[in-house]
Each structure stands twice: as structure tokens, then as C-alpha cells.
């Protein structure tokens, strides 16, 4: 090559910036988008759990399945409305379905959301009609098939949002795609189990409530483990601690470690040991904490991505050739 990257690049990056100016532009997305990410995770995973519960015992979990279907429909409808609200030219929302683009999570995500919303709405409709009569029975049968589709697209809706954030240049989102996927996935399952558990406890169906609490417990444990690994990885990826201790970072950390982590784990465990699952109060505390923490996780992660886009050293430090990155790791 004639254009040898020369001595100038052989000199390692040592914090140069252009008058401290932002090297990137942050996304304009606000609470509407982070709330959508939360809702897509909640509704999507709820329909996934409902699919599994139906396979296990359709009769015992009929109430759970009904709630999950309505939750999936409501979450996708509200989520879609939030997304349209976030557009700067909302009148053209339908252009989202103008092309299919596999390199754009926003594009294939629109189709996932459309499919998930449609299937969920159908399953909801069959719940409202009921099983009576020929039409009701046929609808219920068809809804059983649609339920499988809703479960699969629900899993997609609950996780593709991690790739939506990761497939950008904003340092915090781009730094750890795998961890972000696991964080969103585990949080979605925990949130869905928690929300469905609230419904079961409300209706007095403690047996299925206990199972949902168990699922929420394990999902939360997985979430907490992933979160510990994520923190370490972020440091290795050159996201300074000063960044993760910003207000958005504090929201994120409090959300995932305490609110959606330690509190529900303690509440569920205590409920199991001390009251043999009869006391809904502890279960409700755990479930509400998981939902609040899930929302905080999404808000914090969204904010950190926007903040780091405007920090030249965070971006430039990461955007180095592989060789010099290895050198930095060794130090």
C-alpha cells in the first residue's frame, strides 16, 4: 500500500479530540422508545410463556393464557403507538413497511412487531368470543395455532430491540451486543412472568402464581449474573466507569442490580421459605420490583447510548485498529 498508515497511526491514540466536540450525533429517541422496548419485551415474552403453559396444561393455565394474550395485544398496540409518536414525520409511519431490509433491525423489527401484534390480536379476539358454539370452537382451535406464532414472534419482539441499539455507532450500545441481547432477553422473561404472576395472584390462582414466581426467580438470577458479567465487559471494552456512573448509568445499575435483581430474589425466596407461597404480598412486591427495574434498565440503557455518542474519547478509544486494542487490553 502506498498509503501506509504511517508513523502517525503507529503512535497510539492518547486522548486527542477536536476541541472536545462530539464525534457522533446521538439518536433523538426519548422515553417513548425505551418504553416501547420494555413493552415489546413484556408482551412478547408473555405470549411465549403462554404458549409453553398451553402445551403443559391448557386447562389449568387457561386464565394465565387469557391474560398473556390480552397483554401481548395491548403491549403491541401501545408500543406501536409510542413508536409512531417518536417519528419526526409520524404521518408517514406506513413507510416502515415499504421495504424489507435485513441489515436494519428497525426494518425487520417492524415486521416482527406487525406479525406479533396481528397474531396476538387474533388470540385475544378468540378469548373474547369464547369457546361456545361452532364459531367459538373453531376460533379457539385457530387461536391455538396462532398462539405458537405469537410465542415465536414474541421471542423476537422481546430481543430484537437489543440488536436495534447495538447496530449503531453509539459507543455504549455498540460495545457489548451479546450482553445487551442477554440483558434484554432475561429481563423480558422476568417481566412477563412477574406481570402474569400479578394476574394470577389477583385472581387467587396461587398454584400457577407460584410457578410464575419460580420462572421469574430463575430469570432474575440469570439477569443478575449476566449483569455482573456485563459490567466487567463494559470496562474491558473501554467504556469508562465515569460514564456508567452518570444519571442514566445510575438508573441502569439501580434498575438491574437492586430493583429488578436483589429485591425480587429476596421477596420470592422469602415467600417460599417463610410463608410456603401462601402470602401474595411478598410475591406482589417481587413482581412489581421486576417490572419497575425492567423499565429502568431500558431507560438507562437508552440514555447511556445517547450520552456516549457525544463523548469523543469514549468513541475514539474504542474505534481503534484491532492491534492497538489488543495492546491496550494487555496493559
Amino acid at each position: 500500500m502506498l498509503d501506509r498508515p504511517t508513523e502517525r497511526l503507529a503512535r497510539p491514540y492518547s486522548g486527542e479530540t477536536y476541541y472536545e466536540r462530539a464525534p457522533l450525533k446521538p439518536a433523538h429517541w426519548d422515553w417513548t422508545v425505551s418504553s416501547y422496548i420494555f413493552l415489546a419485551g413484556l408482551g412478547g415474552a408473555a405470549q411465549g410463556l403462554a404458549t409453553l403453559a398451553r402445551f403443559a396444561d391448557a386447562r389449568q393455565f387457561a386464565g394465565l393464557v387469557r391474560n398473556a394474550r390480552h397483554l401481548g395485544t395491548a403491549a403491541s398496540a401501545l408500543g406501536a403507538a409510542l413508536l409512531v409518536l417518536d417519528l419526526k414525520t409520524p404521518g408517514r409511519w406506513y413507510n416502515m413497511l415499504r421495504i424489507v431490509r435485513p441489515t436494519s433491525p428497525m426494518s425487520f423489527g417492524s415486521y416482527i412487531l406487525t406479525a406479533f401484534g396481528g397474531l396476538s390480536a387474533f388470540t385475544s379476539f378468540s378469548e373474547m368470543v369464547g369457546r361456545r358454539g361452532l364459531v367459538g370452537r373453531m376460533l379457539a382451535r385457530l387461536a391455538g395455532i396462532a398462539q405458537i406464532g405469537a410465542g415465536v414472534t414474541g421471542a423476537g419482539a422481546s430481543t430484537y430491540t437489543a440488536s436495534l441499539l447495538s447496530a449503531t455507532s453509539s459507543p455504549f450500545w455498540a460495545a457489548t451486543p451479546r450482553h445487551l441481547g442477554v440483558m434484554f432477553g432475561t429481563s423480558a422473561v422476568a417481566c412477563a412472568a412477574a406481570a402474569l404472576s400479578l394476574g394470577e395472584r389477583w385472581a387467587g390462582r396461587h398454584a400457577s402464581g407460584r410457578r410464575l414466581d419460580d420462572i421469574a426467580f430463575f430469570a432474575t438470577a440469570a439477569h443478575l449474573l449476566a449483569s455482573l458479567s456485563w459490567t466487567r465487559r463494559l470496562k474491558r471494552e473501554g467504556i469508562p466507569e465515569a460514564v456508567t456512573s452518570s444519571p442514566s448509568g445510575r438508573t441502569l445499575n439501580t434498575g438491574e442490580m437492586l430493583v429488578a435483581g436483589a429485591v425480587p430474589l429476596a421477596a420470592y425466596a422469602l415467600n417460599r421459605v417463610a410463608t410456603s407461597n401462601r402470602d401474595p404480598a411478598l410475591s406482589v412486591i417481587g413482581s412489581v420490583a421486576i417490572l419497575a427495574g425492567g423499565l429502568m434498565l431500558r431507560h438507562g440503557a437508552l440514555g447511556l447510548g445517547k450520552e456516549t455518542a457525544e463523548q469523543p474519547r469514549t468513541y475514539f478509544g474504542r474505534a481503534q485498529p484491532a492491534q492497538s486494542k489488543r495492546l491496550r487490553d494487555r496493559r
Binding site: 476541541y19 417519528l87 484491532a322
Partner: protein
Amino acid sequence: MNATIDRQEALATAETRIEPGKRYGFFTDTTLCIGCKACEVACKEWNQLPAEDMALSGTSYDNTERLSATTWRHVRFVEQMADGSGERAAGDGSAVPRPGDGPHNAAPDRWLMMSDVCKHCSNAPCLEACPTGAIFKTEFDTVVVQQDICNGCGYCVPACPFGVVEIDQLDGKAHKCTLCYDRLKGGLEPACAKACPTDSIVFGELGALDRRANERVRELHARGVEDAYLYGTPGSPGATGGLERLNAFFLLLDRPEVYNLPAAPSRPASRILPALGAGLAAVAALACLAGSIFAERPRR
């Protein structure tokens, strides 16, 4: 349809014949830039872009400060003083050339000027992110936002590894340099390149531009300017991480970060599979667990 363009004014002004199907771009040679900002003005004039809020940045002669929805060329001014007085120019000062620091730091006072622009990446991240198809590759291999399709979702903005594209708050659409798509269609050289009085901005067909740029680097090296290098040609800094090449590329004298450019940007779409795969795997693992919890027989 491969319609030829009849009027070829670019032949006279840029020695370039503009033909659909060929790849065009800019070679911006920062060693020739005198900071006159004629490119900024010509761009605003031709594209009828409004002025930004006028204010003094207080850091250098760069009061434009950034590329934006209504500023598609932006001249940067980097002041580097041998006595260290311009150290703010290089950030925290630790990397500022000082006399006697070493061979490459023995630089005299100097003023680096660079006219920044959309890079018209070969694998353009903004285009790959655009869910509506508003951003497309033209017949000249340039990247353009179609204003009648963009719905202002804003995904192209964080996708861009160079912080170029922006949503205009007034009209709610994404805007950036079009490499004067309309002028190219009429056989005209882009406005900034035509206005550039020193030919720091050269418009042309990519093959010819690459040859010219490599020759310029060789010439500078021979003259003792050994730090000169290209940013954005295949295999060089800027054209990393799956970006292949930048159709608008640069000749630089200092590290890219000094010019507010990343040394090794990467293609955001390469992170879709890791994120989605890991997320789905986590959900699948928890689903197996949930399935077994649902199927478990009641103990009492």
C-alpha cells in the same frame, strides 16, 4: 436505462465525464486547504440551505462547529503550536507536539485545515439502517436521502460512524450531503469542489481520484512530509470494520482523531447477529426452564 448526460460541464471544470453507473466521490487534500470556507458557502447557496445560528465558538476560526441537517460542508481548524500554547486544539494536551519530543513531534507551529463532508461510504451504515428505503445508492454510487420518503425515525443518525446525518427539527426529515445529485445529473461538478480555489476538494471518478491521491502522498513523502496518509481509501484508516471504502476520502497529516475522525470505524450491521443471537439463546434457555416448571406435577 443508461441515459448519457449531454451537457458535460464537469469535463471543463473537473476533467471528469459524468456517466451513470460509474463511481464518483471527493478527494479532499487537507494540505491544500486554506480555510476559506468557500465550499461551505457554495454548498449552502446551491442547496438553498439556511444559515445556522451565528455565534463565535471561542476555540478557533471554526464557528460552523459541526456538520448538520443544514450544513453539509464544514471546515475544521486545528491550531498546533510548537510552544504548546495551542494545546487545547489537541484535546487534553498530552499529545500535543512539543519541540524535541521526538522525530514526529518536532513540528513547527502549524494550522491543519480540513473540509469535512459526508463520506458516502461504500457500505453506508445510514443506508443499511434506513427502514423506509429513503436512503439509497444513486447511479453515481453516492448516498442520498429521498425527502419524499423519509419519515424521521432517526435510525440513520446514531448509525453513522462519522456523525454526519441529522434530522432537521423543522421539517422532521434526515438530511445530509447529496454529493450534488442534481448537479451530477446535469453534468455539473458538485458545488463545493467547483468553488474550492486551491483544489483541496477534488471531484472525480474513484479510480482516477485514488491514483491522484496516491501520487500526492508519494510526492509529499518525497518532499519530506512523511506523515501524510490517506483516510478512507481501501485498506487505510477510516475504511475499516466492513466499510470497504469511503467515496469521499481525505489526505491527513495527523492522527484522525485530531480531525474528529475515528481511526477504525466499523459497520454497525455486523452487530445485529451477536445481539439477536445471544438474546434469543437466553430466551430459549429460559423457555426450556419455564416449560419444565409449567409441566411439573403439583406436589400436594
